[in-house]
Amino acid sequence: MLELTPLEWEALLLSLRVATLSVVVSLPFGLFIAWLLARRDFAGKILLDGLVHLPLVVPPVVVGYLLLLLFGRQGPLGAWLYDHLGITLAFNWKGAALAAAVMAFPLMVRAMRLSLEAVDRKLESAARTLGAGRLSVFVTITLPLMWPGLLTAAILGFARSLGEFGATITFVSNIPGETRTLPLALYSLIQSPDGEAGALRLTVIAVVLALAALAASELLARRIKRRLEG
């Protein structure tokens, strides 16, 4: 087993932290958007759908730059957040999580929307006729049925967040211990003389991490399947 240096631990833990916050914050929002897109008809639905998918198709640098314009010190949202809540996002790890969340959002919404559309609506109607309220039906019937979709969304979002590079480096820079996640640390090493060995080690760590995430998702999916069937 390879020994990790303090710098590698720092980047690894930071990456996990950023990806976790990214997923935790975007799951509820994503679920709401997925529900809107799957179950509701309203004016501007195509526009919303397009907006949600935008990070998937524009260059990540564009996303990072827009985030900087919006959430930077002089940005309208950034200034408001700072003045009213004392929150700064630009150039710290929460900003890195925001960038990762925006980039991962379309993947998460897609996964949840698909599983939501696959839920048998007759089951929901039955629960309604038995007197359950809308919210209660959603929490006790719909959510458990779309559980595999939620899990896929979380894991996809987590994996995408771990790998986020372009929007992150544009929005929050490359500050050791604050915003230097695994991909950014790798980038720095590739650019510096003497970085060869370190870059290889980080590559190995990144691959191991990705494989671990995929294996975990597979195991969880099997377990859920067994529980749903059993």
């Binding site: 833990l13 996990l16 932290r17 976790t20 916050l21 935790v24 900087l68 930077g72 010190r73 002089q74 950034g78 700064t88 630009a90 150039f91 710290n92 790890w93 820079s173 490359n174 500050i175 050791p176 211990g177 604050e178 720095s188 590739i190 650019q191 510096s192 003389p193 970085g195």
Partner: protein, 257 residues
């Protein structure tokens, strides 16, 4: 299982980030100062001031200046060009009176070492630069080392011919890395970059009259002046730091040069 998961989640999200209890001074510094400044930071933390930690962020001066303008949490800025420091000064982002020119440097033409002694480059025949193969340099659109290099090549009249076969890098250290990996035939970097690198040979220093003088201004970022920041600032401009910078191939400038 769910509760254990939630516990791990909470720790990940709200656990301590950096070394707690230590004051952190964040220095944004030109990529070319990396080896010297890293050495200095080690000395500072071990000998001078144990309760102050220096956090070093290296990138091209241009990248860092833009980030400081956008609100990045830098306390000190060591730039490789006066122009980019002016950029921040125009935006009132420097603590008044804190700006001083700390260092000078020279440009060097380097190539991968191949064992044989390389003949020194003859600057009176600049066309032979084209024969060296692809030339790496900092992106001359914004990276100071690239801007200086391009100015010199323009003075020599070879820039239009060289530009298409150049490799533009995000900072000057990346140009050095390309030469060390033998991916390019030559590069123009700082003398300090080439110093002490076994895998590269210096074909010659670029005559300094070919480009504007290379200056490294140091300044405290507006609103970040504190006792700890001052200590780091004084240390970087003090005699011990000068010695380390000189040893690394820079020219320490006297009293703000």
């Amino acid at each position: 299982m769910i509760w254990r998961g939630l516990l791990i989640l909470t720790l990940l999200l709200w656990g301590p980030t950096a070394a707690a209890g230590q004051q952190q001074v964040t220095i944004f510094a030109a990529a070319s100062t990396q080896p010297a400044l890293s050495k200095l930071a080690e000395r500072f933390e071990q000998g001078e001031d144990e309760e102050i930690g220096l956090r070093l962020v290296f990138a091209a001066t241009s990248t860092l200046a833009k980030q400081i303008a956008a609100g990045a949490p830098a306390d000190l800025f060591l730039a490789a060009s006066e122009d980019w420091m002016d950029y921040l000064a125009r935006r009132d982002l420097l603590a008044p009176g804190s700006r001083r020119n700390l260092l000078g440097n020279r440009l060097a033409l380097i190539a991968p070492a191949n064992g044989a002694a390389a003949p020194p480059f003859d600057w009176s025949r600049p066309q032979s630069l084209l024969a060296l193969g692809r030339l790496a340099l900092g992106d001359p659109d914004h990276v100071p080392a690239g801007i200086y290099a391009k100015a010199a090549l323009e003075t020599l009249g070879v820039w239009p011919d060289l530009a298409p076969s150049s490799a533009r890098t995000a900072n000057v250290r990346a140009a050095l890395a390309l030469v060390e990996r033998k991916e390019v035939g030559a590069a123009i970097v700082y003398r300090s970059d080439a110093q002490g690198r076994g895998d590269v040979v210096t074909l010659g220093l670029v005559p300094s009259q070919l480009h504007p003088p290379i200056r490294y201004p140091l300044a405290i970022v507006a609103g970040r002046d504190s006792a700890a920041v001052r200590r780091a600032y004084d240390f970087l401009s003090g005699p011990k730091a000068r010695a380390v910078f000189a040893e690394a191939g820079f020219q320490p400038l006297a009293n703000g040069g």
